[in-house]
């Protein structure tokens, strides 16, 4: 899994790539905990280069959302590949996560 962290104003952008599965999702979980530890509350995860996610990866997203909600923070997702969208729907995630087509649209939603 690849992970690039950027700042865009007050928003922490995590650009993810590769596979988010049982072998790799801990990297994202640790990064989320680090960001929360820094007191950051606005997080955008960009899935543009993610080509695979399983329930372990999905679980990390839910954990991150729950932690951010506790501190009145916000987690937004963007750029999920078309062929993976149905799994986000089946998981019920389209009901609880704001999901945008591009990173730009997601960023605009924060302002």
């Amino acid at each position: 899994m690849q992970l690039v962290e950027k700042e865009s104003g007050e928003v922490t952008v995590l650009e993810l790539g590769g596979r988010l599965d049982s072998n790799t999702s801990k990297v994202l979980e640790d990064k989320v905990m680090e960001i929360l530890g820094q007191g950051k509350k606005k997080v955008l995860m960009d899935f543009k280069d993610v080509d695979y996610i399983n329930s372990t990866g999905l679980r990390v997203l839910l954990l991150a959302l729950q932690q951010l909600k506790k501190i009145q923070g916000r987690l937004v997702l963007s750029s999920i590949k078309d062929y993976m969208k149905e799994v986000f729907e089946i998981s019920g995630y389209t009901e609880i996560f704001p999901i945008f087509t591009t990173q730009e649209e997601a960023l605009a939603n924060f302002s």
């Binding site: 599965d21 049982s22 072998n23 695979y52 399983n54 329930s55 372990t56 999905l58 679980r59 839910l62 954990l63 959302l65 729950q66 909600k69 506790k70 590949k81 078309d82 062929y83 993976m84 149905e86 799994v87 089946i90 998981s91 019920g92 009901e95 609880i96």
Partner: protein, 137 residues
């Protein structure tokens, strides 16, 4: 019923790459859509990850067989292992209508399997779990 592949894998998570590669190879050769290839990989990943992670509390070396066959527009998978008895059909699944704060963290994998596949049948035969999964394409 035309056999596509039959793999014997060890009870280690790294072995799942071989299963994913076999599904991808079949999918590419038969022009399966990216969504279907991904969902089939996901189903096998979820089931095998469960078995490998929780099915062998005493550890040790075990063999799991994963086979796939095709009957016209029906894809059939058979998973056989000697892990602890586990019937994914009776496993609890999370309340996916709950608010984010109240969502349970576990159980999603089995829910995905049941939602994606068209038919799932489980039997415990002589100390083995046999799980049959079908998907109409």
């Amino acid at each position: 019923m035309e056999p596509v592949f039959s793999l014997r894998i060890a009870n280690r998570l790294l072995e799942l790459d071989r299963v994913a590669d076999a599904v991808e190879a079949f999918g590419e050769a038969h022009g399966l859509a990216a969504k279907l290839r991904y969902q089939l990989r996901l189903v096998l990943d979820e089931l095998l990850t469960n078995t490998i992670s929780y099915g062998y509390p005493e550890d040790g070396e075990h063999v799991i067989t994963v086979s796939m066959s095709q009957d016209g527009s029906r894809l059939r998978f058979l998973l056989v292992d000697d892990a602890l008895p586990f019937d994914p059909l009776t496993a609890k699944t999370p309340d996916l209508g709950a608010e984010a704060d109240a969502r349970p963290i576990g159980g999603l994998g089995i829910h995905l399997v049941r939602a994606i596949m068209d038919r799932v049948a489980y039997e415990r035969v002589g100390g083995t779990n046999r799980l049959l999964l079908e998907k109409d394409i």
